[in-house]
Amino acid sequence: MSELKKYKELALGGNIEKSGTAVEFKTGDWRSSKPVYHPENCIQCLFCWVYCPDSSVTLKDGQVTGFNLDHCKGCGICAHECPGKKKVKAITMVEEVK
């Protein structure tokens, strides 16, 4: 987050005066477990990308590359939906440790 503004510097009524700002607001920090990607087991079906409620599965050229952990809430839907390769999951959930 950028530095907090003083009250006189704020937009009227708390308006957010541009679009696409949610990306600046990191919402992944209340996660208790996180997804781990195992590319060797991935068949690039993109089910994880479709099902992720936070658009946190990152792609490059239509291929899964991993997760945006600034916004992933750790719900585990990606891991649940992942068919894996020969039933071995390409996404597993591990507990978040500091």
Partner: protein, 391 residues
């Protein structure tokens, strides 16, 4: 400028002001005694006399919600309500103010249930006095009409940008017919000017978010900004009132002093009771009693300094409250006036008098009796009494 003299009830006067303002959107739900305001206005819409989009909603909560939506979208927006209807708007009242939307509301003051009552007291609007709305009381239909027109300018002023409620006393003003001076449509339009919404949601070139969450990091700052806007309104209301006076011969300020400067005993009141008090004061003055009145026209922002200055040389003052803050030490007007005086070197003996709840009659004899009791020292300073209740 030519004034047109008409016979109008308070509700008719407010509806006429709304017609001449010709807002883009009115969303409202009928409620006694404010029903006629939107009923008459909806007839103007049906007859094509205004270009307003009239949204007939299913509750007052929806009325204020629709007003918030339309105002955020960039439309000049108005509504009208009373009592339980205002109470049903309560949640959205805070949102309208917090989002800094210049909505103007006609509220006809009426008691809150229970027991159910349809008559006048100020409990309804006093209940949302802390929401951030500007709060203007009217002594009569003329003031209601004039204040509605000024309210649009005050709400939309760039240093204010807060919603405004203009109130009348239920039935006493809303249904009592008076002679009023009205302005031409063109004069009203030129006074209020064209609405500049600054930012609006229908502006597709500048997308923005309204109503985002503010947690511990920003909520406090936004509420603090509203305090500044209310303070700015003190000046803006006076400027708009003076400009109205210059153009249309009737000046409006935050307070009005009636025979107050040399008064020994005075009352402080809001709304229609001030008219009755003026007649009593005229009578008492002829008898050599130095009686005076301080009328508070604008309750939010509370003109504390002006009130303290106006009362500093009076010996004894009774503050009349047409609502009670049950469990508090006196009604809201009394506690605030007394608080405003606390830091003054010179201050009067001051007592609170709650009266007229649920439309209980306040007549000239009672007000005269009050003045005489004040004069005779029968009303103890720093006490709260109840005038006109059977005890």
């Amino acid at each position: 400028m030519q004034k047109i003299i008409l016979a109008k009830t308070g509700n008719e006067a407010m509806a006429l002001a709304m017609k001449q303002i010709n807002p883009d959107v009115v969303a409202a739900y009928p409620i006694t005694p404010a029903t006629e305001i939107v009923q008459i206005f909806s007839q103007y819409v049906a007859d094509g006399e205004v270009k307003t989009e009239f949204v007939a909603v299913e509750s007052e909560h929806s009325a204020m919600s629709a007003c918030i939506g339309s105002c955020a979208a960039g439309a000049r927006t108005m509504t009208g309500t009373s009592s339980q209807g205002l109470a049903l708007m309560y949640e959205m009242i805070y949102i309208a103010a917090g989002l800094r939307l210049p909505i103007v509301m006609a509220d006809v003051n009426r008691a809150l249930a229970a027991p159910i009552n349809i008559h006048c007291d100020h409990s309804d609007t006093m209940g949302c006095r802390d929401a951030g709305w500007i709060h203007i009381f009217s002594e009569n239909a003329q003031e209601a009409y004039d204040s509605m027109i000024q309210a649009m300018r005050i709400a939309e002023h760039k240093d204010v940008r807060l919603p405004v409620m203009v109130t009348t006393d239920g039935f006493i003003i809303s249904h009592g017919m008076e002679r009023i001076d009205t302005l031409s449509d063109a004069d009203v339009q030129s006074f209020i000017g064209k609405y500049d919404p600054m930012m609006h949601l229908l502006d597709i070139k500048k997308p923005f978010t309204v109503g985002a969450i503010n947690l511990t990091d920003y909520y406090f700052e936004h509420r603090r900004a509203m305090v500044d806007a209310q303070n700015n309104a003190l000046k803006v209301i006076k400027e708009v009132g003076a400009e109205f006076g210059k153009k249309f011969d009737t000046n409006y300020g935050l307070i009005e002093k009636y025979q107050l400067d040399d008064a020994e005993v005075a009352i402080v009141a809001l709304g229609s009771t001030c008219g009755t008090a003026k007649v009593v004061i005229d009578k008492l003055r002829k008898q050599g009693v130095k009686a005076g009145l301080l009328k508070i026209r604008v309750f939010r922002p509370f003109p504390a300094e002006e009130i303290a200055r106006a009362l500093e040389n009076i010996k004894t003052v009774a503050v009349l409250d047409r609502s009670d803050s049950i469990g508090s030490f006196g009604g809201p007007v009394f506690t605030e006036v007394r608080s405003a005086l606390y830091g003054s070197a010179k201050k009067p003996q001051i007592a609170g008098v709650v009266y007229g709840l649920g439309g209980r009659e306040i007549d000239m004899e009672q007000i005269e009796g009050l003045f005489m009791d004040l004069k005779a020292g029968k009303i103890k300073a720093d006490s709260v009494s109840y005038l006109g209740v059977r005890d």
